[in-house]
C-alpha cells in the first residue's frame, strides 16, 4: 500500500481539493482564500480552539450537546435554544446518516420529506446538501463555537464546507469514523480521507487560522476498554499532527466505574502529550473530552437523569476539558429540544457545583492510570512494529491482525475477537484478548479481576457476562431482583 504517515505536499493537496469539491454541486461554494479571511474575523470566544485553550483557567468542565435536524431554520432554532436555555458552552451540528455515507441524493429526499411532513425526517443536519452559505447562517446565529459531529468515513467534502462556513471544529478520524461507522470501507481509505481533512486544517493553520480537531473517543460506546479507545485517540492525534493540526481534543466514553473513568481521562491526556512530544510535535495543544455513557440508556427518564448527572460528576472529578451530554430521551429517539436542554442543564448544575474540584490523586487512581498506560504502550509498540515504523501503515496492519480490536464494531476490517465484561466494581476488563499483544502480567490482571466477580456471582467468565453487561446500565431489573432475594437470605 502507498499509505504513509507523511504530510501531504501542498501541491498534491491543492490538486486533490479540486476533485473533492467537484463531487457534489455545493463544493463550488468553497473559496479557500475568502474562507481564510472569513475565519480570521471570528471573535476568540466563538473559535473552538481558542475557547478550549482559555478553558484551562476557568476550572470547570465545559458542556456540549449533540443536536441536528434536517432544515436550516429549524436547526438554527434548535441551536439557539440549546445555547440560551441549556447553557451550552459549545454547540454541535450532528450530521444525518445519509450524508455520512455520502448518499446526498437520499439526504435530498429527506430534506424534501421534512418540508412536506413538517417534522425532521433526517437524524441530523445534511451539511453538504445545504452548502457553505447556509452553514454560515447557522454559525452566525449563535454566540459559541460550532463543531460538526458525524461518523463519516469520507468526510472530505463535508470538512471543506464546514470550515469554509466558519465552523471551527470537526470531529472524526480515519479509525474512529470507520470501524464503528462502516461495514466494508478499507481502513487505508479512511485514514487517507482523514489525512486530507487534517491537511486542510493544517493549511488553515499555516494561514493563521486556529481550528480544533477531535477524534471520536467512545467508538462503539459499548464496553470498550480504555486501553483500546485511548490507543485509537492517540494514533489519530499523531496522524493529525503530522498533517499540521495544532489543537486536538482527545475523547473517552464513560464506563461507569469512577476510578477507571478518572484514570482513563488522565492517562489519555498524559499519554497523548507524551507521544506528541516523542514524535516531535511540541506545539500541539491537547484537551480532553468526556462523553456521558454512550451505550444503551435506561428507558426511565428519572433514572436517565441519575446516570447523566453521575457522568457529569465523574467528568468534573476527572478534570476533563469538555463533556458531551446525553438526554433522558436517549433510549427512545432523537431528543426534543426541551429534553436536550434538560440534559445540558442537569449537567451544567453539576459542573458548576464542582467548580475547582478534582478527584484527589489516591493510590487507586494512580494504579489504574499506570495500568492503562502500560496497556496502551504495549499495543502502540506493536502497532509501530507491524507498520515497520509507520503509524498509518501500522494502524491498518494492527486492525488486520487484531492487535487493535474494538468490541461490537460493525466493520469487516475489525477482528471482532475481543470480549469484555465488568469486574466487581463495575470497571470494564477484558475476558477474551484475541490478538491484543499483552504480556502475561496484564492478562493476569484482567483475568483475576473477572474471576473475582465470577466467584462472587457463582458463575463462569464467559460471553454471557458480556451480554449481561450490555444491559447492566440500561436495565437494572435483574440486579434488583437478586437484591430482593439477598435481603431474604438469612446467611448474608
Amino acid at each position: 500500500m502507498d499509505l504513509r504517515n507523511k504530510k501531504i505536499s501542498e501541491e498534491k493537496f491543492l490538486k486533490m481539493r479540486e476533485e473533492v469539491l467537484a463531487s457534489w454541486p455545493t463544493g463550488k461554494g468553497v473559496d479557500l482564500k475568502e474562507a481564510i479571511e472569513y475565519l480570521k474575523k471570528i471573535p476568540d470566544h466563538q473559535n473552538f480552539a481558542k475557547k478550549l485553550k482559555k478553558a484551562k483557567n476557568l476550572d470547570r468542565v465545559l458542556i456540549q450537546p449533540r443536536a441536528g435536524v434536517a432544515l436550516e431554520h429549524q436547526h438554527i432554532k434548535l441551536l439557539k435554544y440549546l445555547e440560551k436555555v441549556g447553557g451550552a458552552d459549545f454547540l454541535p451540528s450532528t450530521i444525518d446518516s445519509y450524508t455520512r455515507q455520502n448518499r446526498y441524493e437520499e439526504a435530498e429526499v429527506g430534506i424534501r420529506e421534512s418540508i412536506l411532513s413538517g417534522k425532521s425526517m433526517l437524524n441530523g443536519f445534511p451539511v453538504v446538501n445545504h452548502g457553505v452559505e447556509s452553514c454560515r447562517r447557522v454559525s452566525e446565529a449563535i454566540n459559541v463555537p460550532l463543531q460538526a459531529r458525524h461518523g463519516t468515513p469520507d468526510a472530505r467534502l463535508l470538512t471543506e464546507i464546514i470550515h469554509a462556513a466558519g465552523w471551527t471544529s470537526n470531529e472524526g478520524g480515519g479509525i474512529s469514523y470507520n470501524i464503528p461507522y462502516a461495514k466494508s470501507v478499507p481502513l487505508e481509505t479512511t485514514i487517507r480521507n482523514w489525512q486530507y481533512c487534517d491537511r486542510l486544517v493544517g493549511y488553515y493553520e499555516e494561514h493563521g487560522v486556529s481550528l480544533n480537531r477531535e477524534p471520536f473517543g467512545p467508538l462503539t460506546g459499548t464496553l470498550v476498554p480504555p486501553c483500546i479507545s485511548n490507543t485509537v485517540a492517540i494514533i489519530e492525534t499523531l496522524l493529525a499532527a503530522e498533517q499540521g493540526v495544532k489543537n486536538s481534543s482527545v475523547g473517552y466514553g464513560q464506563l461507569g466505574n469512577i476510578i477507571q473513568d478518572v484514570a482513563a481521562i488522565r492517562a489519555l491526556r498524559e499519554q497523548t502529550e507524551y507521544y506528541l512530544e516523542a514524535y516531535g510535535f511540541e506545539d500541539v495543544y491537547v484537551s480532553t473530552v468526556f462523553h456521558q455513557w454512550m451505550g444503551g440508556f435506561p428507558k426511565d427518564e428519572t433514572e436517565a437523569f441519575g446516570l447523566i448527572s453521575m457522568g457529569a460528576t465523574t467528568a468534573a472529578l476527572a478534570g476533563a476539558t469538555k463533556m458531551i451530554t446525553k438526554t433522558t430521551h436517549e433510549s427512545i429517539g432523537i431528543p426534543t429540544m426541551q429534553a436536550n436542554a434538560r440534559g445540558l442543564k442537569a449537567s451544567k448544575e453539576v459542573v458548576m457545583l464542582l467548580r475547582g474540584q478534582r478527584y484527589a490523586t489516591g493510590i487507586k487512581v494512580r494504579k489504574e492510570i499506570e495500568q492503562i498506560k502500560a496497556e496502551v504502550d504495549q499495543i502502540l509498540d506493536k502497532v509501530v512494529e507491524v507498520g515497520s515504523g509507520d503509524l498509518a501503515v501500522g494502524a491498518v496492519e494492527a486492525f488486520k491482525a487484531g492487535i487493535i480490536d474494538i468490541p461490537f464494531a460493525p466493520s469487516q476490517y475489525n477482528a471482532g475477537k475481543i470480549l469484555t465484561a465488568r469486574d466487581v466494581d463495575g470497571a470494564v476488563r477484558i475476558l477474551e484478548f484475541g490478538n491484543i499483544p499483552f504480556d502475561e502480567e496484564i492478562k493476569d490482571f484482567h483475568y483475576n479481576k473477572l474471576e473475582k466477580r465470577a466467584k462472587k456471582e457463582n458463575r463462569k467468565v464467559d460471553f454471557n457476562m458480556t451480554i449481561d453487561d450490555v444491559y447492566s446500565i440500561s436495565d437494572k431489573k435483574s440486579m434488583i431482583d437478586s437484591e430482593n432475594e439477598w435481603w431474604k437470605n438469612e446467611n448474608n
Partner: protein
C-alpha cells in the same frame, strides 16, 4: 429448524443489538442468516430467497426507519416472499412519538409485527415460536 434473516436496514450501523439478536436467536434454536448492518431491502430479500427463510427481522435504530422501509413488503411480494413473516424493531422512527400511531404506520406498510425501543430478544423469540408454529 426455522430460518430467519436478520439485519440492520439503510445507512444504519448500529451493530450491538444485531450481534446480540444473532446470538440469542441461534441459542433459541433458529438458523440465523445475519446480513449485518448497512443492508438494503434487496440484501434482505436476496438472503431470504437464497436460504428459503421463514421470517425476516428488520432492525432500524438510527431514525430513518420510516424512509428505509417504504415499499419493502411490495418488493417481498414481487420476489415471491409473500408468505414470509416480516418483523421490524429498534428505534424505528425519529424521536419520541406516540407508539400506537407508529405501530399502525408500519403495519400499514406490511409488517406483521412492529416492536418498540428496548424490546428484549426473548419477546422476539416468543413471537417467532408462536407465529411459525
Amino acid at each position: 429448524m426455522k430460518t430467519v434473516v436478520i439485519g440492520v436496514i439503510g445507512a444504519d450501523v448500529h451493530a450491538v443489538g444485531n450481534k446480540i439478536l444473532d446470538y440469542c436467536l441461534t441459542n433459541a434454536g433458529f438458523k440465523v442468516v445475519n446480513i449485518g448492518v448497512l443492508s438494503q431491502q434487496e440484501d434482505f430479500i436476496n438472503a431470504a430467497v437464497e436460504t428459503n427463510a421463514d421470517a425476516i427481522l428488520v432492525s432500524s435504530l438510527y431514525g430513518h426507519g420510516e424512509l428505509d422501509c417504504r415499499g419493502f413488503k411490495d418488493k417481498c411480494v414481487e420476489s415471491g416472499l409473500e408468505g414470509v413473516l416480516l418483523y421490524v424493531g429498534g428505534n424505528i422512527v425519529i424521536g419520541k412519538q406516540k407508539w400506537k400511531a407508529v405501530q399502525s404506520r408500519f403495519k400499514d406498510m406490511g409488517f406483521d409485527r412492529v416492536y418498540p425501543p428496548g424490546t428484549s430478544p426473548d419477546d422476539a423469540i416468543k413471537a417467532l415460536n408462536k407465529d411459525l408454529r
